[in-house]
Amino acid sequence: MKVIVNGKEVTLEQPTSISNYLKSKGVEPQTVVVEHNYSVPDREKWEEIILNDGDNLEIVKFMGGG
């Protein structure tokens, strides 16, 4: 199963939730926001949303320094 994460094709062994995908990449959920298939799901839905073949995921970090 292939999904596009931050513009790059990524192969997933099995259907995975957004939360589990982030966990597998060592990303602390509180440090990012995500867009899934061009809409922005609530943070509370990340555990329910399963990434499917062809899905698009954008992960953007909180960046507030200056």
Binding site: Q30, T31, Y38, S39, V60, K61, M63, G64, G65, G66
Partner: protein, 249 residues
Amino acid sequence: MINQMQERYARHFNLKEIGLEGQEKLRQAKVLVIGAGGLGSPVLYYLAAAGVGTIGIADHDKVSISNLNRQILHTSADIGRKKVESGAEKLLSLNPEISIIMHDMKVTPENIAALLAGYNIVVDATDNFTSRFLISDYCFRLEIPLIEAGVQGFEGIILTIIPGETPCYRCLYPNPPEDRKAFEGLGIVGATAGIFGSLQALEVIKRITGAGKTIAGILVFDGLDGSFRNVKWSQRKDCPLCGQNPTNL
């Protein structure tokens, strides 16, 4: 005087996107830069150099030695001075033809509306999420274009927010991170702030002169990869600020 002005901006006059007309628009513009630090330094230098006629600098801080790895508006001799004063001095030395308004203050919900009044464009060059959300909320309410950028380590993001035209800051970040203090005082390479401050200044100059297009979506930079990525972020229908049932107005 006219000749001197023509000399100063000679490299703008032979650009079809700026020319004499664009230079006059820059001279008439009033731009507020909030934060005279890592991002603010390049923003302020390039806006002053470009001949933006009135530049407001808002900052409540004093220069400290740990600022100097990135805040190139200030020097070792400025340690202990107010950033607005140190900054104004450098900018007027670079370009005495412009006006600098010093706002020696921390932005708060009580003073921000008065601070923003009269400015055409606001540049968010602050270093914390509390200020960023406050600035973005009020720029949206007052319909002032806002150039947002944030940096961390070797990375950064920038988005140009035009109220009513583009997604807003809360479309990207609906709320501040849970532990916003954890994001304060993180490492920053000065050059990363330099890149994003320069991009912010360029967005301001484009917006004033009408040159080109504003950055669409969010431009994300990973300096360790050496890669820029343009993310076409969507406007949130349930955005707490610009959505159908806003809760932050």
